[in-house]
């Protein structure tokens, strides 16, 4: 079965410093992986997706993620955090049937 583990439930960074949100996946074959963001009282928004075309994936709002098969990781990064990046972030994998399988989420806090 395909699943993801988000290694940190909370991450706190200062505005202007790099962001790293960690995700490991478990899959018997090359998975499709995604990062979603959820701002308070708002819907889920797709940040980026990996579908085996390129290992470094660029998303919206300056986020990117690198697929590393040897480490079974798909960490989300951003060079410089902005206050508006404060939100809940979900790493997601697709098992069979096209439904999304979500991690437990990482809450990102950005301090001035």
């Amino acid at each position: 079965a395909q699943s993801v583990t988000q290694l940190d439930s909370h991450v706190s960074v200062s505005e202007g410093t790099p962001v790293l949100l960690r995700c490991n996946y478990s899959s018997s074959y090359s998975p499709s992986l995604f990062w979603y963001v959820q701002h308070p009282n708002k819907g889920l928004q797709l940040l980026l997706k990996y579908t085996s075309a390129a290992t470094l994936v660029k998303g919206i709002n300056g986020f990117e993620a690198e697929f590393k098969k040897s480490e079974t990781s798909f960490h989300l990064t951003k060079p410089s955090a902005h206050m508006s990046d404060a939100a809940e972030y979900f790493c997601v994998v697709i098992p069979s049937g096209y439904a999304l399988n979500f991690g437990k989420g990482t809450s990102l806090l950005v301090t001035p």
């Binding site: 499709s32 797709l46 439904a99």
Partner: protein
């Protein structure tokens, strides 16, 4: 294009009462999903429809939850009777098919059971 519409946005009921949620997917999207998101957790799939047929309802508590998608468009999710642990945000999503492509979420219905 219009997004995935859900109603109501908020609902407060007493335990043992019944409640229904409605979802109108993006026009033309054949696949519709209902997810349950308990506070502090990631969304969990309850049921997946392909047109008006059920693809996966393995995580739907069928003794109290039911869902239908008549005519392959709108969908309703019902809980009867509700329990305190059903308090959550219920998210509807639709997709045009294929792995993760064209996936759009609604804003959700926040249910509080007291």
């Amino acid at each position: 294009e219009a997004g995935v519409a859900q109603s109501p946005r908020y609902k407060i009921i007493e335990k043992r009462q019944s409640v229904a949620f409605w979802c109108n997917p993006i026009s033309g999207h054949a696949t519709l999903y209902w997810y349950q998101q308990i506070l502090g957790q990631g969304p969990k799939l309850l049921i997946q429809f392909q047109n008006n047929g059920v693809v996966d309802d393995s995580q739907l508590p069928k003794d109290r939850f039911s869902a239908e998608r008549l005519k392959g468009v709108d969908s309703t999710l019902k809980i009867q009777p509700a329990k305190l642990e059903d308090s959550a945000v219920y998210l509807c999503a639709s997709s045009s098919g294929g792995e993760g492509y064209g996936y759009t979420f609604g804003s959700g219905t926040r249910l509080t059971v007291v």
